[in-house]
């Protein structure tokens, strides 16, 4: 490998990048846009859910329930209709997203040691709110039960005293798990979009053909593409990481080396993928469409935004075929749980495997495809 050749290729790439300032600006600004989007929108912890309470019992207990819901920031009690039927309109119009129904006979049931069912009605048209609203409501009811048990001195009765505690990320702030995953996602989007155009552009303009009649070897060409974009990606990651953790106050309990190693491996797979797309595409438009086609599912199925456990069972094994999935696991575990290399052996092995396969494929593709 001729170092002078590689140096020239890298120099050329940077010269060209500088001539497209919009691209550079976009690459550098994108992390911030993503940080805002994900930090504030995706990671937004649901609060102030508009709620309705239907009290059909009018008892001491029902009033306790009412005040328990009214006094928390999670629920914003907007209406207290007299009948359950009235809920229909409220939910239909979107005036409320959650409704608590305290049926007639609740107090009576409790007094005789029975279980009283409390209805939690959620608006199914808004899945995230209903999911979260459900858990908040259940929490409040559980607290009520606890308080009631204490009041009645139910220490006299047997039962289960469950102590629930949260390990890691005690505040349960979604931001703390979003931002780490974001590092990998931003990297992926940027690199794949930019790289997929890189080779096609040269093929279209004929400079690729020209270059291979010169003493430049295919290996030198690959490295010459890898280095500049790799460097760019590193810079972008560093910025994202610093701003993200600083601005959102995301705690970092893990090892910097693991994060860097994970990101580096992931970067290799992403660059490899971008190059592969670029190599098999004939036109720039084709490259762009292929990238969109490939990237969107990767993004969605990686578990970054939407949890993998909630996906249908047949799909779950496939999520392991997406490099981003493993990168997100590594980053999240490292940031939030301080996981070590041994703990993350599985995702790392996957990433190494992907890096070898994808990059290897890219090298083979270079040898073959560029000879046309």
């Amino acid at each position: 490998m001729n170092v002078r050749h590689v140096r020239l290729l890298v120099w050329k790439e940077f010269v060209q990048l500088r001539r497209d300032p919009m691209l550079l600006r976009v690459v550098m600004i994108m992390p911030f846009v993503y940080l805002i989007m994900f930090g504030y929108v995706v990671a937004a912890d649901v609060t102030h859910l508009p709620t309705a309470i239907v009290d059909l019992d009018h008892s001491v207990t029902s009033r306790q329930i009412d005040s328990a819901f009214s006094s928390t920031a999670y629920f914003d009690v907007k209406a207290r209709p007299d009948t359950e039927a009235a809920l229909q309109t409220l939910l239909d119009r979107g005036d409320v997203q959650v409704a608590i129904v305290i049926p007639d006979g609740t107090q009576a049931a409790l007094d005789t040691g029975q279980v009283a069912g409390i209805g939690i009605v959620v608006d199914g048209a808004d899945s995230q709110s209903s999911s979260v609203g459900t858990s908040y409501a259940m929490q409040i009811i559980a607290d009520l039960n606890q308080a009631r048990a204490a009041d009645l001195g139910a220490g006299a009765l047997p039962g289960v005293d469950a102590r629930v505690r949260v390990e890691y990320n005690q505040t349960l702030a979604s931001v703390n798990t979003m931002i780490p995953g974001l590092l990998a996602s931003v990297l992926m989007v940027t690199l794949m979009v930019v790289l997929s155009q890189a080779v096609v552009k040269e093929r279209e303009s004929g400079t690729l053909e020209q270059m291979f009649t010169t003493p430049v070897s295919r290996g030198e060409y690959l490295v010459g593409k890898l280095l500049p974009y790799g460097l760019l990606a590193c810079a972008q990651s560093a910025i994202t990481a610093f701003v993200g953790t600083w601005w959102f106050g995301v705690p970092f309990t893990g090892s910097v080396w693991i994060v860097c190693l994970g990101l580096l491996l992931f970067m290799l797979t992403t660059i490899g993928l971008g190059l592969l797309v670029s190599l098999v595409s004939r036109t720039r438009q084709q490259a762009q469409q292929t990238i969109m086609f490939v990237m969107l599912p990767m993004f969605i199925l990686s578990g970054f935004i939407f949890p993998i456990e909630s996906m249908p069972a047949p799909i779950q094994p496939f999520t392991k075929l997406i490099p981003l999935t493993h990168a997100v696991v590594i980053l999240r575990a490292s940031f939030v749980k301080g996981s070590g290399l041994a703990d993350l052996a599985e995702p790392f092995l996957y990433l190494v495997g992907f890096a070898i396969v994808i990059f290897g494929a890219a090298i083979i593709a270079v040898r073959r495809r560029l000879s046309e």
Binding site: T61, G119, V121, G124, M138, A142, P158, V194, V336
Partner: protein, 380 residues
Amino acid sequence: MNGLDRIMAIVVKEFRHLLRDPRVLATVLLLPIAQMLLFAYAISFDVRNVPTIVIDQDQTPASRAYVQTYSAGGFFQVRGDAAGIGDVDGIFRRGEASVVVVVPAGFERAITSGAKADVDVIVDGSDPNAARMGQAYALALNRLYGQQVAAVWAEKQGLDLSAAGGLDPRVRTWFNPDRQSSIFLIPGLVAVILMIVCVQQTAVTVVRERDLHTAEQMVVSPVTHTELIVGKLLPWTILAFFDMGMVVAVGMLVFGVPLRGSVVLLLVASLLFVFASLAMGVIVSTIAPSMETANVMALMLAFLPGLLLSGLAFPLESIPVVLQWVSSVFPARYMVDISRGVFLKGAGFSDEWPQLGSLALYTVVALFLAVRLYARKVRT
């Protein structure tokens, strides 16, 4: 040749271009369907099958019965038991489970002797949604179980039962009994996927043509800029509608999404929305100096806000007010609202006129800007 004839000529030319490249056609027509199917099928916020590990240090019939209740609900997915408490940290760090239940020795003894049995439930906070749900479900489950135990005991002892009673949360979903996220997401997805395709296609097409200098050739002819833009956008509008039709059909037939509201409203809104998206694409193409940049900008302007700020998947009420204002700048938000209203809530013009108005305003402004910017760009 009057204006309309010229527009038709451009439309025909554009169509011929499209049909000549079957790959472009395939992506424009098939891509939205394929992706929609994938997402609708895969995406869900509903927490279920939370991997759980139980450490049963009592190993008695009572403790085993207790452990059973976790598997019964469908919420917890009990994966196995581990050796001891020291393991819990490792379990979480390796990501083997999100919930660990520790049943200490003496569980059965406590229950049968009328005392309270301690149980530790530890949740992994690195998945906040699952953790929260895990907490809530665990508490409810324990409450129920405890109540059963207490009732039996109290009966046996002839004790006052009132302390044995408790509140049991019963969750009901209003609109879709299956609580399937797909039904929630599809109406919104319809809008978003359309937008992504529209903005991308236009941005790329116009840039490419500019690159190839054909745009300059067109300027020399007596076509006005407005005619040119309308002529270019019309074929894409038709295709986008075709797409939408397919997407809706699949949504309704395969996923059982209901269509309860005004179809006319949906069509009108879609028309406005498609035009607005195409106009946005043209605007992007005039600002972007190169194709990659057009690409990236389309991604950032269509994909991101489309997905995140439209209310498609993430509730808009919970985000900072500033961002809520930003979201009102993107037409996707209104379209998603209208779409969801028509499909799921049986909405009509009277319900959605504010959104429709905003959408119309947006479209007019976007088209105006598109024509202006395009004219200026071509002149330089």
